[in-house]
Amino acid sequence: MPGPLDYRLSDEQLALQKMAREFARQEISPVALKMDEEEELDPFLIKRLAEYGLQSLNTPVEYGGSGLDAVGICIVLEELAKGCASVAVTSAATALAAYPLLLAGSDEQKKRFLPPIGEGGGLASFCLTEAEAGSDAASITSTAVRYGREYVINGTKAFVSNGGSAEFYLVFASTDRSKKAKGISAFVVPRGTPGLRFGKKLRKMGIRAADTREIILEEVKVPVNNLVGREGQGFVLAMEALDLARPGVGAMSIGIAQAAFEAALNYARERRQFGKPIGDFQTIQNMLADMIMKVEAGRHLVFQAACKLEQGLPFTKEAAMAKAFASDVAMEVTTQAVQVLGGYGFIRDYPVEKYMRDAKIMQIFEGTNQIQRLVIAKQLFA
């Protein structure tokens, strides 16, 4: 007989949570609204993140990272997102770009590319999406052609997180267009490679401080030993990396939702109408109860997915469920938080309208929630 389900975090996990929570409270939250307003990450904050290992969560210690497992990553990302989703996304996007190297990179490649984003404090970018290839990622048109000891890459990548500020770009391009998905390969393009250009920083609805932009690759030459894995392995690597990162997107969603819930709860305690705190009214109590129920349910889905991943069990369905449910919860709970705060919720001097704007992207990126539902259904009918 299996033992009872243990819902406690270990001492070490609690320590991670405490550290990330303190860091978010003291270093991130105080500058979150300013960064959102200026649409710019505080460079000092990014340096601090790296200093404490919050910037390379998934990279093993031997390659200069923090070497967290999936549960640890989710714990940390939730807390970072509670402080500011843009900061969490910056860290999560770096981790996403590191996954293909961790999955299929050679030891030499890991030693060359990973320490600069761990101890070095740099960011990394995962470049898959193109203007005409979003959910249908296999239809990318970027190409990589081999000439002797080099590949020449051409193409334009859209909505690239950490776009203008990465140490390296994990670029997916087709080495054989006739093979469609099976012709896609993954390459590391280091910052400063001739022909690598950046588009203008995108003006976004949410996660406004995060650096998202177009990446243009024009006759970009990289040595053959920048190919990650084999030719044609790229699409599988991209899908596996997105799978591995997916619980983290759920965790960030829960972080935003938890922050919005707490803001609404505090406000309900303090705001007085009709002679008493609005939290005394059952209407508000019901709203808050609904909010926390969903946040907790989402958090459990996230941890379930992360645990299965860590135990080597199939987790594709669980990760899709965690991502879609948690981000839907984030959208709903942040919207309700704005409602609880009323007019104050609608203005930018309070953080909750930012939570609502930040939540939206969680339903869209790293596989839209509609795609997640298809993934779940595919597993059901498998």
Binding site: D11, L14, G72
Partner: protein
């Protein structure tokens, strides 16, 4: 330079103090932290180690929960730790605490003992001084700046509008005050490595001590009376002044 840092696990500064049914302080739902002044001591020790080498040993007295505070100090960068844990130590006075700590330090090699000048729970500020006396070491308290030169420590103490500079030979007991430094967070890597570091648990018996009667006993705890809401005196100035004076003399009895 080898440094011993004494830390105590205390309630979070924001904890709401409540009493249990039998009149003891309840720790239900309370966040436990490293006493903030001890945290300055941990940070200072790690900075000294980073600059001059050596080893930082954390020593704490407390129950099993105190391991959490110790692990945090290890995650910040301390090297190893000793936890003195014994049911007989549940309610000791400062005399016994200092005696037990002194015994635990016997046989350890250190050039410096660092700790906070006061613990935020009982606020006694007694243990470091008593420990220094037992060990026959010089002490410098409430230090906001510490400089180490060969064989001595130069300690700055802040007073009203002036700074006192003390010099003590090493080894010495030096207690930290706010301002000494800004403690770091433990890094993620530090947290992951902390569980691999040595944390030795010792009992009174291991130290060759027996349960000693505390010289002072806690008889009971009382919560302070809840603060009354303020009074607002309303009306015309002449009238309100009269009311106020009457209130101050008759009710509040402060004049």
């Amino acid at each position: 330079m080898n440094i011993v840092v004494l830390i105590k696990q205390t309630f979070d500064t924001e904890a709401k103090i409540q009493l249990t049914g039998d009149g003891k302080v309840s720790d239900q739902g309370v966040n436990l932290i490293i006493n903030p002044y001890d945290e300055f001591a941990v940070e200072e020790a790690i900075r000294i180690k980073e600059a001059k080498g050596g080893e930082v040993t954390i020593v704490s007295m407390g129950g099993d929960k105190a391991q959490e505070a110790i692990r945090q100090a290890l995650a910040m960068g301390a090297d190893k730790a000793v936890l003195i844990s014994d049911p007989a130590l549940a309610e000791v006075d400062h005399y016994v605490a200092a005696k037990v700590l002194a015994k635990a330090l016997e046989g350890m090699e250190y050039d410096l003992i660092l700790t906070g000048w006061v613990a935020i729970d009982d606020q006694s500020a007694q243990v470091p001084g008593r420990l220094a006396e037992i060990l026959g070491l010089p002490q410098a308290n409430v230090v906001t700046k510490l400089e180490l030169e060969d064989g001595k420590a130069v300690c700055h103490r802040e007073g009203d509008g002036a700074v006192e500079v003390l010099e003590v030979p090493l080894p010495a007991v030096i207690t930290a005050q706010k301002g000494l430094n800004e403690p770091r967070y433990p890094s993620l890597k530090g947290i992951m490595q902390a569980k691999k570091k040595e944390l030795k648990k010792v009992t009174l018996q291991d130290l060759g001590l027996s349960a000693e009667e505390a010289k002072a006993k806690i008889v009971g705890y009382q919560l302070p009376e809840a603060r009354q809401a303020g009074k607002v005196v309303e009306g015309e100035p002449a009238d309100t002044v009269r009311q106020l004076v009457e209130f101050l003399t008759k009710e509040a009895k402060v004049i």
